[in-house]
């Protein structure tokens, strides 16, 4: 199983859940691997030079390298998944929504600091030269692709929405949190799906 993490701040919020699901899959005899996307975590590549297309190619290369038969994406990770791979999308989200929260965080922080910034102006900067949002420096390619990429309805992956897991999404939490119950439920929907397939 190739695990494609949530993007940016949501990856931090879901870090514990991601690891816990992988442990449960391991317990069920399913090997999984969680690569760092180029420009993220321990990758030495500059984030500024990345694009969704490139991340998708890298995800595909990782799937081939590790001989992954299935993919599990979390939140915005869906945007980096090779659409033809079988698997699951946990609480998938469009790139536009990922950006919206980050753009908003920046305007709120600016206002607190006594600077006036608008989302629209930041969007224009993002498209033309890239922009730093909530500590992530997004290049123009990644910014523009995020604006225009949504989960593909015709992909080979099955959506698992938060309602099926129970509780509220951990990506919403102001402080990173964990939920063994949610990890159980998510791992179970995957193992049940694998055995019935």
């Amino acid at each position: 199983m190739l695990v494609l993490p949530a993007l940016f701040d949501e990856a931090n919020k879901l870090r514990r859940l991601t690891a816990e699901v992988m442990q449960r899959l391991d317990g069920a005899g399913i090997d999984s691997v969680l690569p760092d996307l180029p420009g993220c975590n321990e990758s030495r590549q500059p984030l500024q030079a990345q694009s969704l297309d490139h991340w998708r190619q890298c995800a595909k290369a990782a799937a081939e390298h590790f001989a992954a038969t299935h993919v599990l994406t979390l939140r915005g990770g869906v945007l980096t998944a090779p659409p033809e791979m079988l698997g699951w999308n946990y609480a998938p989200v469009a790139g536009r929504q990922v950006l919206r929260a980050m753009l908003r965080a920046r305007t709120i922080a600016a206002r607190e600091a006594g600077r006036e910034e608008t989302i629209e102006a930041l969007q224009q900067t993002g498209r033309s030269e890239g922009v730093e949002l909530a500590g992530w420096t997004l290049g123009p390619d990644l910014f523009a692709q995020l604006e225009n990429t949504a989960p593909q309805p015709d992909s080979a992956q099955i959506e698992i929405d938060q309602g099926a897991i129970g509780g509220s999404g951990l990506w919403l939490r102001a402080e990173s949190d964990e939920s063994p119950e949610q990890a159980d439920a998510l791992a179970l929907s995957i193992t049940a799906g694998l055995t019935s397939a």
Binding site: R104, I108, A174
Partner: protein
């Protein structure tokens, strides 16, 4: 007036649920929030990224659009301010 009352309390219930999810608090604690309960600037975990998530979640669950200009310190400072803002937005729609 009797028709307005349930919708106000509906917004109140939804807003408390969103805060519960964002702040990771139990229902009981969020139930005790009153108009003067401090939010942004009072709760250290509620930083700009968390506020951004809160506003985006309000848009989704209350079916409203929050513009740049709507967001100011006053509406975010207390629970009462945020609730009044949400109510005004829902009526506007």
């Amino acid at each position: 007036m009797t028709e307005l009352a349930p919708s106000r309390s509906d917004i109140d219930t939804k807003l408390r649920a969103i805060l519960r999810d964002v702040l990771g608090l139990d229902a009981e604690r969020v139930e005790r929030f009153d108009d003067s309960t401090g939010l942004f600037g009072h709760l250290p975990e509620l930083d700009s990224m968390a506020v951004a998530g809160l506003l985006t979640e309000m848009e989704d669950r209350l079916d409203i659009i929050i513009e740049d200009d709507d967001v100011d310190g006053e509406m975010l400072e207390t629970y009462g301010g945020l609730l009044a803002f949400a109510e005004a937005k829902v009526v506007e729609n």
